[in-house]
Amino acid sequence: MTYQVKLDAFEGPLDLLLHLINRLEIDIYDIPMAELTGQYIEHLQAMRVLQLDELSEYLVLAATLIEIKSKMLLPVHEGEVFEDDYNLEVENDPRDELVARLIEYRKYKEAAISLKGSAEERSGHFTKPPEDLTEFGEIVAVETEESMNIFDLIGAFQKMLDRKRLKAPLTASISKTEVSLSEKMDEIMEILERGGGKCAFHSLFEKWETTELVVTFLSLLELMKRRDVIVEQHGNFDEMTVSFRREDE
């Protein structure tokens, strides 16, 4: 049976084994070792693409499977069994340890799926960045216990990046739809028109939004490049003025 598997879809040998058990509709509590071992090794052969160190982990389990299989093939010689060992012999199925491992692993695999679900649900609830409290007064420097560690630091940083992710695109998407470079250039020309051909440099930058400031500035540079406007400053700290470029210049 040829079965195309994308092997990197497996998280490890136990994962592969669980997959096989499911596909072959095997009862996990009564694994036919010969069949499973055969299938497992067949898959390993297709796995040559894997890196060596990854492969080694798969090989370790292959060895375990073969060991279990051979133990099960060994005939139980009645004579060699001590009477009081009888119960032990029954309980000591060579597969027990493997089954226990698989079941334990499967528990966490399921838990991982449920965790993923809760993360998705949580991501549907958005919140807001903390308000800037400076308008309420000076923030008192608070002495905190110095029990913080590097992991608190990482947590704080991650949280901030999240917040940024939430905030930046929001303002960007709004300004993107509202101000393009060419629109802004037209707007600047209009302002100049209204101001009798000139205006103060800073008056163009009264909007507070970063992206809009940038667009305004880039528009201005573009207008200067096209020689539509000129920016002048007389003294070192004088107000700069933007004006139409005169024809005779």
């Binding site: 160190d53 982990e57 692993y105 991982a112 958005f126 695109p169 929001l170």
Partner: protein
Amino acid sequence: MEKEDRLPGMIESFLFIVGDEGLTIKQLTTLTECEESEVALAIDWLRGNYEKRNESGIELKVFGGAYRLVTKAEFAEDIKRLLENPAPKSMTQASLEVLAIIAYRQPVTRVEIDDLRGVKSEGPVSTLIAKGLIMEKGRSEGSGRAILYGTTDLFLDRFGLESLDGLPPLSQEEEGEPIETDLFMTKFQEAFAIENDGGGNIS
């Protein structure tokens, strides 16, 4: 009496100000200068009120012990549409597995995680640290003094859990096939089918 009347509004204003930081009931008790029981009552009242006003866009939730105001899930799609940014990449299966093991077994060493999964978990562990979801919680008693890992408050927040007690119980093995397993296997096969059709990566 008058103070009590103001309490829900005061709490609401505090929660609004701190936004995604949230506030614990202890912090709220200090800030409102009220009894913890009064605060708890006011929170319940607020929470109930948000639920009742079903035209409301926000609600009160508690994640990792911190109360916060959040938008209602029903507006998630609208908000995502306006955010326009790709949602942060969802975690890989490997990271989720490691995270699940740490969440349920903490404190736990990397060797134990490796053993449970049957593969090395170095990569996922450092990814989880970088994401602020797990942290060092001391060292084991053994000779190796191996690092013990546990989950962070950020983990609780990110996964919408009130506390670690809020983790769903691990499936109990019963005789006969547990339903969850089927569900899990179905999901896995679906993923697999997609994988086979599309040829893309599952990660």
